[in-house]
């Protein structure tokens, strides 16, 4: 719940739309792929080290973890077809014999399949979520702020107190 509130606050703040969009996208990758793996550590590093919106990341992570349950077979099938592709076998064989390759766990059908699947979806989600944030701020947020009830609530002491506690 806290993540949703913070996300709404971020949406309504002057946080960069790209920060929010990257948060959604990286959260999606984190949610769709198995948690144990080198890719998760790298994702965590990227999310924490770069100015990615954490609320968007956490929310997308939780949301896409649910999607992962339904899409498991499809993504494992993607991994299976990539790993069993004869032209790629020499590459995987070479990777399999290295420590980095073993740590990557890319010879696990679901790990590779889900990562490839989420990376393919990433540009679409990144651009779509950026557009949606901009559109939200331009249309929905302006429309919401114009509603008299909202103006009234914002003007109350209770709202000011809530804002102060939230910061």
């Amino acid at each position: 719940m806290g993540a949703i509130v913070k996300l709404l606050k971020a949406l309504n703040s002057d946080a960069s739309p790209w920060q929010l969009a990257w948060g959604f996208t990286l959260g999606m990758v984190m949610g769709l792929t198995p948690m144990l793996g080198l890719h998760s550590v790298i994702l965590l590093f990227v999310v924490l080290f770069f100015r990615v919106n954490l609320s968007a990341f956490l929310l997308a992570w939780a949301l896409f973890s649910l999607f992962a349950l339904a899409l498991g077979s499809v993504m494992a099938g993607v991994g299976e077809s990539i790993l069993s592709n004869q032209s790629l076998v020499p590459f995987w064989t070479q990777l399999y014999s290295t420590t980095l390759g073993q740590l990557s766990q890319f010879y696990h059908t679901l790990t590779l399949g889900s990562l490839v699947f989420s990376l393919i979806c990433s540009p679409v989600l990144l651009i779509a979520s950026k557009i949606l944030v901009v559109q939200y701020r331009a249309k929905v947020m302006v429309w919401v702020n114009k509603i008299k009830l909202v103006q009234f609530i914002k003007g109350t002491n209770f709202y000011r107190l809530y804002q102060a506690l939230g910061e």
Binding site: L48, F50, A76, G79, T93, H108
Partner: protein, 584 residues
Amino acid sequence: MKNIIRWPGLIAFFVVVGLISALVILFLDFWIKLAAQKGLEAATGAEVNISQVEHTFSPFGVSFIGVQLTDPKSPSTNQLEAQVISANIELSPLLLRKVIIDQLTMTGVQFGTTRNSAGQVYRQPDDSESVSSSLFPDAKDLPSVDEVLAKSPLKTTKAIETTQQAYEQHKDKLSEQYANLPSKDKLSDYKKRIEVLSKTDYKNPADLLAAKEEFEKLKQEIKADKAVFNEFKESLQTAKQDLGPKLAQLKAAPGQDYEQLKSLVAGDAGAISDVTTMVFGETAGEWSGYALAALDILAPMLKNKEQQQQEVVIAEGRWISFGDTSGLPELWIKQADISLSWQQEQILSTWQDITYQHDIIGRPTVFKVDSSASSLWQSLKLNGDFWLKDSGINAQQKWQLAGLKLQDISLVEQDKLSSKLLKGLLSSNGEIKVNQNAVSGDAAINLAELAMQATGENKLTRIIAQTLNQMQQLQINTNVAGAIGDLDLSFSSDLNKQLGSALLANIGKEEQGKLDELKQKLDSQMQGALGTQDSQYSEWLDWEKLVDGDMNSLEDMLNAKMTGALDKKKDELKDKLKGKLFGN
């Protein structure tokens, strides 16, 4: 750049990673225990308990203390229990998801121990009938003679069948050939024609030449008929050679059947034929179980592990192995020392190359037990190997046990019979082979210096008990068949024979009546069949005599009479010629 990078995030990253690492290391024993339990449960199909886990980092090793593997066939007992299992594991192959154990040590290993509470079974094993479920029948309802005859594979019946088959096989051919033999009239016609030719007074050489030509023609006809006789005689000889021994067998069969069946009529067929299994089967099965533990427990466990690797849920993904240069199997225990506890004695076994991917390492798993004299046995030697292939398990095992002291072993505890082995010496040797999961082999179990205590509750079981109490030694032959994980053991001994004699020695009026009835029925069966076959056989012998006479007659016609007549005529012509030349 400053807008992109969040420096406090870097600290947060290290804090999060550090915390996770600390959690893993602090609770490493717990994670190892969890993983080991899950892995072993998947392999055995039943609950696995591990009391405690300890680890060392340098060299990397793990010790499991108090390990119990529930027997899925009997959840209240452990298939295997070990006090301590220690393993030194190579770390670098672990990154390749390969468990390479340089040295494994198992101490305090026991089979079939009782669990504190029944373990859970996740995969139901195939049901196999226990020999102990058999119950001894009452002797009061003796089987009828007809029942015994119907149930028993009789030599008399078989001999009747084979004799009939042999007779049917030759009958038609011989009858047809006999019918086609030259008639008596034809033979006497030959005789007459030869007489005419031989007695005619030939006036000139031309007549003689014509007579000779006619004789040659006649000779050809006689030869052709003789060939028909020869052919018939050959067929007759073949039939005699075939049917003769079978008839002799038929005559002897009732006597043999009577000897075999008389103990069954006096007692009970089922009880006597299987008494070795009923009295010793369960215990001998347990002993065999120890000897075959390596193949019957470990091999299926390893095979399950392999299948488990293959049969993963698609949605969870699967690990695909690519031909890496290291050529290592997924699991490889290079050397293992396993110490088995049995009645305060320790049996040390050594193992090499335990794996389920023998094709990768190119050699089988080899195991060996060589235990010198102890307070319980004189010597125990066991060695074997197994190789797991895609097509199944190939294995072999030999063992030699001498002078194992047995004491106070309960053999049977049933309402009608209870028996206990007070003391004895057990020796056993045997060999089994496994070819693509199919097991075959034999074992001999020798029991010497026996002292048994048995009691029976009815006439039959009292006789069994008496026989057991008098027994001082016994050899049980065990036949091992079936498949790995589902061994089928069968037992035989001379106990059945001893028991049959004992039953006959205690025969009553009713049983004697039945025995007489049995003898009479067997004899009448044989006589019924023999009557027909014997008369047919006699007919064949008569045919042979007749044919012999005719053939002699033909032979005489061909050789003696015509030759003499021609010579006489030649001499006459010679004399005439001399007279004309010299004027006599």
